[in-house]
């Protein structure tokens, strides 16, 4: 079976040319205001990403994993998240983070090395970025089991229900933890939706190294539905995610979404994709840009005018400036604070090390920075 997603039951509602298409199971009830808002979120997400890359180039942050190309997957998914739901990201979900209200500064501090995890995940409904590939899928499943225990699944009043959205990558699908998350989710019918952004690459390894068949088929072997969606189509992503989250909230158990997309940029700012993939591939995917197709759609419908774009450009520019500012104004950490971060209940042993460090640091202040 071909992996290009052409005719593999991939849900698409908006073509790359910006045309709505019919799908037997999913549909987009056209709402121009909504579409404009998603466009806006994608544009701001992309701008944030570009600033991130630039800030790394300027030495303001140490590393940046670009999301370029994955805006529709993330903004579409965000649109399906309800206030009581919970999202567990990997490390590239900057656009959904923004959409859920995480502050740019809270995200940048991690990459600048001034903080470890900087947002309140319970308040934002957005877990901490997780670097150990796949580990968060189990946390997500456990959190979903907690929702069940809390009686927040399957209630007749939709408002009382909640579900979990767990992100992972195509590469991550090979990790034991991720497959164990599928097992647990299925075993307990936990309200968790696995949202796999198949961006075709795990650093330099193509998806074919991880799986020779489409990833969405994996889920069925664990006993829950898997579905492939055009990850560059914000309408389709929203529709499919809404469906999956809703059935989870209603107590119908887990689902798996393969958002078929593409990592347009490098894996991170340390990466050099020219070593392992052809520029032609990237060029090809440019034609499927998630933002362009919504613009084309809205223009065709005359749902936007030039004023809209001028204003959006301005907002993006202002946002970009604010992001740069916020980054540079991040407070430097103080080494002494780390000793209190280890435990909820501090230990004498660590206290002693904190004191040891304090007196060492003090001797330095006194000696103005050099050992005598």
């Amino acid at each position: 079976m071909a992996l290009d997603g052409a005719n593999d039951g991939m849900v698409q509602l908006l073509t790359p040319e910006g045309q709505l298409v019919e799908h037997p199971d999913f549909s987009y009830q056209v709402d121009d205001a909504e579409a404009r808002e998603w466009l806006r979120q994608m544009v701001l997400g992309r701008r944030f990403d570009i600033e991130g890359t630039a800030l790394q180039r300027q030495g303001e942050i140490g590393l940046w994993p670009p999301l370029l190309g994955q805006e529709a997957s993330q903004v579409g998914a965000a649109a399906a998240v309800h206030p009581k739901d919970m999202v567990f990201p990997t490390y590239r979900e900057h656009a959904i983070a923004l959409s859920l209200g995480v502050e740019p500064a809270e995200m940048l501090s991690l990459w600048r090395g001034t903080r470890v995890g900087d947002w309140d995940s319970e308040v934002r409904r957005f877990g901490l970025y997780t670097m150990v590939i796949g580990a968060q899928t189990l946390h997500a499943t456990g959190y979903a089991m907690g929702l069940q225990l809390d009686g927040m699944v399957g209630n007749p009043e939709p408002d009382r229900n909640a579900a979990v959205l767990a992100f992972h990558g195509d590469g991550a699908s090979s990790q034991g933890d991720v497959n164990e998350a599928y097992v647990f989710a299925a075993s307990y019918s936990a309200p968790v939706v696995f949202f796999c952004q198949n961006n075709q690459w795990a650093i330099s390894e193509p998806i074919t190294r991880q799986s020779k068949i489409p990833l969405y088929q994996r889920a069925r072997g664990f006993g829950f539905p898997g579905i492939r969606v055009d990850g560059n189509d914000v309408f389709a992503v929203k529709a499919v995610t809404e469906w999956a989250m809703e059935r989870a909230r209603q107590g119908q158990g887990p689902a798996f979404i393969e958002a078929f997309t593409y990592r347009m940029g490098a894996h991170t700012t340390s990466d050099d994709p020219s070593k392992y993939r052809l520029a032609a591939e990237t060029e090809h995917w440019k034609l499927k840009d998630p933002i362009e197709r919504v613009i084309a759609f809205l223009r065709r419908r005359n749902a936007v005018d030039d004023g809209f774009f001028t204003q959006l450009d301005q907002e993006a520019d202002d946002f970009g400036a604010a992001v740069r500012d916020a980054c540079k104004q991040l407070t430097e950490p103080d080494m002494s604070e780390i000793f209190d971060m280890v435990y909820a209940e501090q230990t004498p042993w660590l206290n002693q090390q904190a004191e040891e460090y304090a007196s060492y640091a003090e001797s330095f202040d006194v000696e103005s920075g050099s050992h005598s």
Binding site: R115, V116, G117, D118, D120, S121, E122, G127, L128, V132, A135, T137, L138, H139, A140, T141, G142, Y143, A144, M145, G146, L147, L149, D150, G176, D177, E180, A181, V183, F184, S187, I338, D340, M341, V342, Y343, A344, E345, T347, P348, W349, L350
Partner: protein, 324 residues
């Protein structure tokens, strides 16, 4: 005061914790109807239901990882690992996730997760069923590590570990599960992270924990007949270690021997040796000596009594120390 086995004391402590706080959950393989392979959770699923005493799929990483998620949701999962040697498939979730969550959330996310591990040998078992993995956990910042040695401690320490807002590796000396002793279910217990002087002595201190406490006490009894006064300190807590009690003892006796079932190198004995030397360099009259398993994998059970520290090896090393 009632008399019960160490295993029964754990069962009673777990029951009381489940009773006291509806957020407490038990998770693990075969802990439901079967009551665990050691029957420590016997009867608990019957009384608290399948939602609080949860039989897990056969996957340790999954058990620990989902417990982290439940803790993020406000629960207090108490995990049973079936045998010491089977904790390693979950090692990544313990070391990179559980231990670090409080730190990496800048203190926002608490991780009140207890991982119960039956540990140690001496039961004639096949491989992976007799190991002492405590050094791996003690080396890991963010974890707390404790070991019980009596029914009384089992009863109270498990409740204290569950009440702790930090992740606790809770080591149970499996070969002592069936040994009976007194449990005071009323008395306010000592703090979790405190060592206990099990026998007072003046010539030398044995520092030990878990299954070896009893062995050390036996050694001390024999030594007393021969005129040597041995103090036996049950560490109870390996991370953090109760250095106040330890230093106080060794400052008096001026000699220390560490006894553990874990292999010798890079383990608890080494750390105690380092700390004692750092603190009591001018006090010590002999080097800290170690009576431990040898630096090999746990062997076939027919030689385990020679592989593990025995009363004889302990007494031999006490003699070595006193000879300095």
């Amino acid at each position: 005061m009632t008399t019960m086995t160490l295993g029964k004391a754990l069962n009673s402590g777990l029951r009381r914790a489940l009773d006291a706080d509806p957020k407490v959950l038990l998770c693990g393989e075969d802990i439901g109807k079967l009551g665990g392979v050691f029957r420590i959770t016997e009867g608990l699923q019957k009384d608290f239901g399948e939602h609080r005493v949860i039989d897990s799929p056969l996957a340790e990483s999954g058990i620990i990882g989902t417990s982290i998620g439940m803790a993020l949701r406000g629960y207090r999962p108490v995990i049973e690992i079936q045998f010491d040697g089977f904790v390693f498939p979950g090692f990544d979730q313990i070391v990179t996730q559980l231990a670090k969550f409080h730190f990496r959330s800048h203190g926002r996310s608490r991780m009140p997760v207890v991982i119960r591990i039956p540990f140690g040998g001496g039961i004639g078992a096949i491989e992976h069923h007799s190991e002492s993995p405590e050094a791996y956990f003690s080396h890991t910042p963010g974890l707390k590590v404790v070991a019980c040695s009596t029914a009384q401690d089992a009863y109270w320490m498990i409740q204290q570990a569950i009440a702790s807002d930090d992740p606790v590796i809770f080591l149970e000396p499996k070969r002592r599960y069936h040994e009976k002793s007194e449990v005071d279910t009323e008395r306010v217990p000592m703090a979790l992270h405190q060592a206990a002087v099990r026998r007072h002595g003046s010539d030398i201190t044995l520092l030990t924990y878990g299954p070896m406490v009893k062995t050390c006490l036996e050694a001390a009894t024999i030594a007393a007949e021969e005129g040597t006064s041995i103090e036996v300190v049950d560490l109870r807590t390996l991370s953090p270690m109760d250095m106040v009690t330890i230093f106080e003892s060794v400052r008096r006796t001026k000699r220390a021997v560490v006894v553990h079932e874990a292999q010798r190198s890079f383990a608890v004995g080494a750390e105690l040796s380092a700390r004692l030397t750092e603190e009591l360099f001018y006090v010590m009259e002999s080097p800290v000596l170690r009576v431990t398993a040898y630096d090999t994998p746990y062997p076939m059970s027919r030689v385990e009594s020679e592989y593990l520290p025995s009363v004889d090896r302990i007494l031999g090393t006490v003699d070595d120390s006193l000879a300095y």
